[in-house]
Symmetry: D2
Subunit: 494 residues, 4 copies
């Protein structure tokens, strides 16, 4: 096919350009390349661009190749890429007269671009169930821990009590938005570029809708220069992964600090921990370090793709077709690792409930409730109540005491000072307000950690998870149906 040129590819070119692509493609593309060839031949026949007989020979050759498997195709870098190597193999099987008709009305540009979409779709289909599984795990853990009171932090300082179930529900809610974006990417991924040829379509009366449908696509990317120029759907997946990975990385970061000896809120299962080669006491949650930092690879992939496209023409160029996708498979692999490791880490993670409750009752995180109670019961302004409580807290902190040392007496004294009169509450009343579980139960507003609110969130999110799964199942079955039709149409023509 290199008749136009007077020499074989340089060994340097073969080593750094051809071979890496050949190796990667041979692993990923065998099945999908065959499907594309089958669909294309069926269409050429239907449109009478090739004869019934030639079509039959070509279809049988492809079916035969499918049976024999990828290893029968010799991979020679002198034939530039996987398509040329495949075509050459088929021509050796059926002869140049018929084999030479396979590539009628298409080009490697549209073919590879469609092949990439199919390869990416395969990975995408494998990846999405992992998001569902993690969301499911989070909802399960949220319900289990609806009453597990713990300290909530802002700026990593004890702020107000919450429950671990409420926190898990928060992450699950964030993952809903993250998943929206991941799922939305399918809308732009699942179009076919076949028939765009080099970029300018063709004079043959091809049926782009038909091949698109046989290959499980919603239809063709209409404008043909856009079809070969674009890889935006890949950036979209990478960006969506990056945003979800950002959420999950922050989640893992929280778990990581909760697993310290100082917080001691959780403990990973031994099977997910590692040891030290010299420190006998060590049980390391280093798996959380992997999880939380793996998010960065999604960002790197997106920025790599973006930069590879910067300063390139809007048409088919290898900057885009070749280099902008350099990290897409890594992106899928790292997303997979992150999701699987995180789910496994959560599964048997030990949650130290008593300790968390004890901390929440003593680290002053309930005192906002105290101020609020003054506003509600005594009709103090919020700023006045804030002053009274602030004063008592500082008094206790300066004395090295914890929140259990706040007494009715101290509050009365401060109240006299700032509001002109004592509260007159009993110590029992004060303690009731300062109890972290009571405080949580008291948080009536929508979306708050109150256990009934968490139940409601989880229930709504369980419903949305089912809906998201149904949408995804729709994607998958759409493609499966298409493949059945492809199979059927092939069988009718061989």
């Amino acid at each position: 096919m290199r008749e136009r040129l007077k020499s074989k590819p340089s060994p340097v070119w073969a080593k750094y350009v051809a071979l890496p692509r050949l190796t990667g493609d041979a692993v990923r593309s065998f099945d999908n390349m065959a499907k594309i060839n089958l669909a294309h031949v069926l269409m050429l026949k239907k449109e009478r661009i090739i004869s019934d007989e030639d079509a039959k020979i070509l279809l049988n050759a492809v079916l035969d190749l499918l049976k024999k498997g990828p290893d029968v195709i010799p991979l020679d870098p002198n034939y530039e890429d996987y398509y040329f190597n495949t075509e050459r193999y088929l021509i050796t099987q059926v002869g140049p007269e018929v084999g030479g008709r396979l590539h009628t009305a298409r080009s490697r540009n549209d073919l590879h671009s469609t092949l990439l979409r199919m390869n990416v779709r395969d990975e995408y289909f494998k990846e999405l169930p992992r998001f569902f599984a993690l969301r499911e795990m989070l909802l399960k853990k949220a319900v289990e821990n609806r009453d597990t009171v713990m300290t909530g932090y802002t700026h990593m300082q004890p702020a107000q009590p919450m429950t671990m179930g409420f926190y898990f529900a928060g992450i699950a809610q964030a993952m809903e938005r993250d998943f929206d974006r991941i799922s939305a990417a399918f809308k732009h991924l699942n179009y076919s570029t076949l028939g765009a040829c080099a970029f300018a379509g063709t004079g043959f009366p091809i049926d782009r809708q038909y091949t698109a449908e046989l290959l499980g696509f919603y239809g063709p990317v209409l404008n043909t220069v856009d079809a070969v120029a674009t890889r935006d759907y890949i950036m979209e997946i990478m960006a969506a992964f990056a945003m979800c990975a950002s959420t999950l990385g922050r989640f893992a970061h929280d778990l990581y600090y909760w697993a310290t000896d100082e917080f001691a809120y959780i403990e990973l299962d031994d099977a997910m921990s590692s040891v030290s080669s010299i420190m006998p006491q060590k049980k390391n949650p280093s798996v959380l370090e992997y999880i939380k930092s793996k998010c960065t690879h999604q960002m790197a992939a997106f920025s790599d793709a973006f930069c590879a496209m910067r300063g390139t023409p809007y048409t088919h160029v290898r900057d885009v077709g070749g280099e902008s996708i350099h990290l897409i498979w890594d992106s899928f692999a790292e997303m997979e690792a992150m999701l699987e490791l995180l789910r496994e880490a959560l599964k048997d993670m030990k949650i130290k409930k008593e300790h968390m409750k004890d901390r929440a009752d003593s680290n002053y995180c309930t005192v906002t409730e105290l101020a609020d109670a003054m506003v509600k019961r005594e009709k103090f302004s919020f700023r006045t109540a804030h002053e009274i409580v602030g004063h008592v807290v500082m008094e206790c902190v300066d004395a090295g005491l914890n929140a259990r040392a706040i007494t009715a007496e101290k509050l009365d004294a401060a109240s006299v000072q700032f509001a002109g009169r004592p509260l007159g509450w009993s110590n029992e009343e004060v303690q009731a307000v300062l109890d972290s579980l009571e405080s949580v139960k008291n948080r009536v507003c929508a979306g708050s950690p109150k256990p009934e609110n968490v139940d409601a969130m989880v229930s709504a999110m369980t419903k949305r998870l089912a809906e998201d799964r149904a949408v995804f199942d729709g994607y998958v079955s759409y493609v499966e149906e298409a493949y059945k039709r492809l199979d059927h149409d092939v069988q009718e023509n061989v």
Copy 2:
């Protein structure tokens, strides 16, 4: 409000933390802060958390402040941020007893987070019409140039003829996908975090749905820790901008090379050109350099936001609330510059039609059509036809001739050599096949440069542009209606 602490903020803290925020916020936040205060007071009253009388005083104080304008609020970094400065001003107006009730049942965390969403929404509303305007310009230029034949390139080598209208339609099509993502971001942007308070909601019986609606949001971000922790909608906008900027940058890159003396396909209007201080002949399309490279700032913004969130807790922290949004306003400003400059550059750009046609007829970009014609008319296999044409082309190129030198005679000779028989076509037939305009008209397949196909694309895209505009108008009027209701409810309560 810093009663808890024993000293004023350090001057270093004031200079590097407080002042930059105060300055930025005072510019952007005055109106929206007032709206939030009005909505919050109305809600507190409705839920009987504060008295009718106090509500009236507070509403009037805010209205009065609105009338006086932002300059009446002294900006003192000792009061940490814009909210504390505003509250302090209001307290000086209505006294601590009433003024101190304004902040009941909320926190700066939810307030600032909602304020940011409103500020971002304002910019977003100003930005989107610019995308519409550019798409409209592209469609207009596409129609105008439906017959403007030019060389289409792959790997920047003459490949096949296309039209400039077809190319513009391709960019317009890419912008549709880009816009999908930009428009979809509104779904995640337009929720309110008010009522999340510090992150754990509140024990006051607040109505989060009501404040959300008064402020033009679809509803509250339900789970309250997620509400204060998240800025994903900002990353989503940045990522969507980055992907669109990638398309536009590549488009500008094409224009840039078409404007060279060597291509000479287009020429910018003098008003969009710059000169040299020393080279008298110079007319520089340097504006295209700005446009094509400005895309990178979108990527920088996204990667900055992502990295600022990496390794942070999933709750309210300043890494996220403060630093992750460092480049968001730059992101809007640079997107604006890119869109406006590109549209202006297109507006009066000169298109050199004759020269482009002449080039397309001579640079061999029509010879694929010749091979296709052999397949169609002579039933040669595609590979055989490819060989015949390749041979003749090489012969001409080696002789230093251009495509007009391809004759029937040369084709016959090659045909005899590779197919065993001459074609027998006349020179007129050969020239007709090799004419670039004929070639384009012949591209019958869907999505190809054939002028009627471009008409069809433009017509469909015009419809979709109208639909996208209607969706956007829906966003805007939803918010406007909400503001009217806010106004109305305020008026009823003062």
Copy 3:
């Protein structure tokens, strides 16, 4: 100067291209532009390219402008940029015949490129002392805390005891490497591009070395196309800043977690803390959140510069001259904020020594010392000693005890089990080994936390700091001397 064109710049161009540059340049460039003009005129005269008289008039005009200040130059976007506006002003002062000679033998390309180097150098000179000041603070804190025992962590789990002084010395050591890179950047920054003209030099017999020296540069960037094409020195500064910011960000991250209620190792001064608007107990080290996340802006700046240059010609283009430097001033400002805030945070930070010692004695971080002692005293293999200690630790942990519960008796029992004989140590001996301060003092190897080792490190680093300062002072005085010479040569010629 736009004679070549038939119209004024478009208002869109003026708004988005000309005005932003004019505004920025007028702030930063007034002095340096004047210096360049003075040096250039002196050189033109010296080489007899202009007459003595004309030179005198031009020099006086520039001196006069310097006296009047930047505000006398009207900034009109119709004159494209700051240089054209300045030239126009000078021409109005001295007439076109003489004023028109100022720009002989140069171009805006070399002029702006040199101007940028001078502006960057100014910022660089202001920034570097801040690195020295922080290193000095770290060395001071290292000495003060040479005996401040604390737990050292790996994977954030208690690992082995160290001292806070040792840790500070570690950060100071990392900053030495970081500073190496920052200082090395001067070597590439401090060359002049003046005389490169548009990119191809000039036929006038100019003296590039002379102007370079008058302006404080080491010499010219020789090859003239490289001179106008390159901004690599800016990427080098950004990358060097990014690496240092990475170190400092991680350092601030440690401080942040040490400031939690759970670790409680340090406490920021009240003047560097912020409060909550609703939680009366709150004292937030949120300044550390700013510091640790500001590092990301350095990365964003580098990646922005890189991407803006990607896909651009190697010559003068605005992608490089204009957009690749978009974030350079932000880069300096954010580095400044990070350094100043961090130093201020360290200055009066409270270190809770007793608590840290107590934790280190109880959280098992000293047990590696126990295993090592067995190897040394009993000649056990390391793996055997590790097994004995690991067994005892697990026993204690399972019983809910801390490290103080390790007794001679328990160790003997385990020793019998794994090594076939008891240790026979007294409880006093065991406790001595397990004491964290003893353990630290025992760390004899070079570079370890042993206080004397820290003294040695600090002493060596103090010397290197002085050396680095001397090198920097050399940079500064080199430039100051050059400016004196410029001044002198000007005075001799007016």
Copy 4:
């Protein structure tokens, strides 16, 4: 070694954490791990930490393993990593009593960190000669093309004539700065972390200087927490590669556009070109697309490493030790591909000299010379000369003429109009000024394209290349000498 834990690693952990590391390390680390073990044992013996006899057994075991090769070590993820698997193998060979002494006074933290430095050094040593080879090629091409006149561009518009040799010399000069940074990285790479142990050194009296020297390092990274925490030398290499890749990417971008049919300045050799599957005329320089876009992977690697370290403690964590180096091997591989492909592309690239000269003589790029000549000969001010030439150019352009149409008569007319008198030059004089080769020869200033200037640059750069090579050879021989000493010391002790 996992005695502390009650269960084996989870299969999920094994699959996503352990196995990928084991696979990578087994390929890269076998030799270097052995070297580290040999050096460590020699040191333990020298310091009498282990007995001579035990040392001999251990040394022989390692030598034996080296002979048998990597495949004898079973890789079991249950043993966490490559070190534990290696240790386990050695223990099966020599028994636990002796084998258990190998790991005395070190940890996996320092061991892996040193191992990584050695692995990176190996790649670094393989990479650097490729930079030299490319620089050499550029200097060769610069000399060959010292007289090859061509158009120089700014904003991609014809600006002034230059030579291709001058341009190549410019790239070579930029590569000198790029190489400075790459070479400087060795200063931070080539230090040993061995003996830092977990991060806190050890109580055994080890000799860190000795092991450092045996392994080819300049010495130890002194402070031990910094030693295990840092990977800055990797970021430094990545950043330095990124900056060089930026230069090379822009260079390839220029070649790419010069290879278009429209510029037609160069043509790649057929062996470095690819074809089209359907367009018979195509000869694609797509290899240049690979080269110019591969630069982006260097940026991605740096930003990935940076972000993986963001928000991590300054000590040993897997975010840094594991994930921050995720792309380092890709970074080396992609740099290699870029350098090799670029050199091969340059090697037999065809340069179309006549066409380039013809273009330069006709596209007005010589008219600045005309204005300069008026200043020099007629003492016109530069602005006046600029006006005269600008007027004539516009006249010719409007008439559709090229630069050859500029006559003495037209210049006289314009000169009368703007300067009040004719030039009085002959047409021969005018043509001499407008000849591109004459113009280039006339560029007397230092660093300009004048062929003698290019000779001077190349000569200076040839010298610097030799110096850089000598420095590099010094790096390599330093390490080789160290390995010989290691060998020698081992032989003396077995």
